[in-house]
């Protein structure tokens, strides 16, 4: 559910820090009908043009608060709200080349009333913003 809305098409761009391109970012929404505490986001997995980005290189920003994926595991207060565009940031020295990129994004969620993990996926071809 909501899978087609996981990847937002706007604001996909390289991330610059201290004059250097250190990675890229994209906006993403939770494939679920309510918000969820961050500790219950079991995993976020992304492929860029078929290439996996290591989990250790990912962080997520929700309403201004940034967490490494490992930090999210023990975040019991902050939430990723329903329909909220979070920013997924990938450490990726040099960034992505200009032009189109295929993005595969999968969110794995621990939903307490389901006896299995809830998995939502989306694939889109996005144009890197200037």
């Amino acid at each position: 559910m909501f899978d087609r809305y996981i990847i937002c098409e706007h604001d996909f761009r390289n991330v610059v820090s201290a004059g250097e391109v250190v990675g890229f970012q994209l906006r993403t929404r939770l494939p679920y009908y309510r918000g969820l505490g961050l500790s219950m986001v079991e995993d976020i997995a992304i492929l860029i043009d078929g290439q996996p980005i290591p989990r250790e290189a990912l962080s997520l920003t929700v309403h201004g608060n940034t967490y490494a994926l490992s930090e999210m595991e023990t975040e019991y207060v902050d939430r990723w709200e329903f329909g909220e565009e979070a920013v997924l940031i990938a450490r990726f020295p040099g960034g992505l080349a200009a032009g189109l990129h295929k993005v595969d994004l999968t969110h794995t969620l621990r939903i307490s009333y389901l006896p299995f993990l809830s998995i939502g996926s989306d694939t889109k071809v996005l144009a890197l913003a200037d």
């Binding site: 559910m1 939430r79 329909g83 307490s112």
Partner: protein, 329 residues
């Protein structure tokens, strides 16, 4: 004056999730839309449309009550979740679960709700521990009876036995009308076809479901027809659907606090494709039920891949159907 035999119409704001998710409607817009449709009882899901929950400000609750006054609506039910798997590698303790339920009782009380929809994974003994708090906050706890569970499921039976033993008027149930799934929802079948299921196998599975005679031999039968992964997934779905005879509601009448008027597809003639409301509503009247039926639209997830969702129109048709079945002028 409307004659409703005591049953009142409301809406669960869950119905408008597509528009809220896409930021086409705000919480206030959802309440205003409900009022326009004559659904004056408002059921809400804090974790869906009240960002920041459970830490909501006094100003938020003031705004909420302002909206209720402005639109002439009444808070009915708050939908509770219990995140027993919040901690990786362990389940919540009893104390943590109870604290979570009490947190929701306080919220429901502040909203002005008189009922909470308790999520089905809440254990029976937590309901028992929470009963005195429900009384303190004057909010009744109703366990949702939702497919794949039905009244006869062992887990539900344990709940019902607990409520009978505890004897608190604050413990009861909220049947979800999805337990009366007489036909396989067409919007769901059509989606399987769009994704690549075989139309003739989808039809076959729909026909098997409509017989309500179990699914024994189904997988073998469709494999022989050349079933692919999607056909098999649909066959798996019907194992998780229920069709309960609506008159069984009578057995549980005193425990029914609220009704989730689940629906997937309201047709232009204001009937639901898969759930026989014309059979259900008369039984609810016979039960002497005098609470709210909340329209709960859940078709968006089955059509959003290709269609624009119009939740307000779907709820409008559901409300029109309810008004007719309740004998309103």
């Amino acid at each position: 004056m409307m004659i409703t035999n005591g049953i009142k119409r409301g809406v669960s704001l869950y119905s408008f999730q597509e528009e809220f998710f896409l930021r086409k409607m705000t919480l206030e817009d959802c309440i205003a839309a409900a009022a326009t449709l004559g659904a004056l009882g408002i059921e809400s899901i804090a974790e869906q449309m009240m960002p920041g929950f459970p830490n909501l400000s006094d100003a938020f609750y003031d705004r909420w009550h302002g909206w209720m006054a402005k639109y002439g609506t009444t808070p009915t039910c708050h939908d509770l979740f219990l995140d027993t798997k919040m901690y990786k590698g362990r389940l919540m303790t009893d104390a943590e679960m109870l604290a979570s339920v009490v947190r929701d009782l306080k919220h429901a009380n502040r909203l002005g709700c008189t009922v909470i929809r308790v999520i089905v994974n809440t254990p029976p003994h937590i309901m028992e521990l929470a009963a005195p708090y429900a009384e303190q906050y004057n909010v009744r706890l109703g366990l949702e009876i939702h497919a794949p569970f039905n009244f006869d499921h062992e887990w539900i039976q344990r709940h019902l036995e607990t409520y009978a033993r505890v004897g608190s008027p604050y413990l009861g149930i909220i049947p979800d009308m999805g337990i009366f799934e007489k036909r396989f929802p067409r919007v769901r079948a059509d989606r399987y076809v769009r994704q690549g299921a075989h139309p003739h196998i989808v039809q076959y599975i729909s026909d098997v479901h409509a017989q309500h005679a179990g699914t024994e031999g189904l997988v073998e039968a469709i494999k022989a027809m050349g079933a692919n992964e999607l056909d098999l997934a649909m066959a798996g779905d019907i194992a998780h659907m229920t069709y309960v005879e609506p008159r069984r509601l009578l057995e549980f009448a005193p425990l029914i606090f609220h009704i989730h008027g689940k629906f997937y597809e309201m047709l232009e003639d204001c009937t639901e494709y898969s759930i026989p409301y014309h059979e259900i509503v008369p039984v609810l009247r016979e039960c002497g039920f005098n609470g709210f039926i909340s329209s709960e639209y859940e078709g968006n997830r089955h059509i959003q891949d290709v269609f624009e969702v119009d939740s307000v129109e779907q709820v409008r048709r559901h409300q029109r159907m309810l008004a007719r079945l309740l004998g309103e002028a």
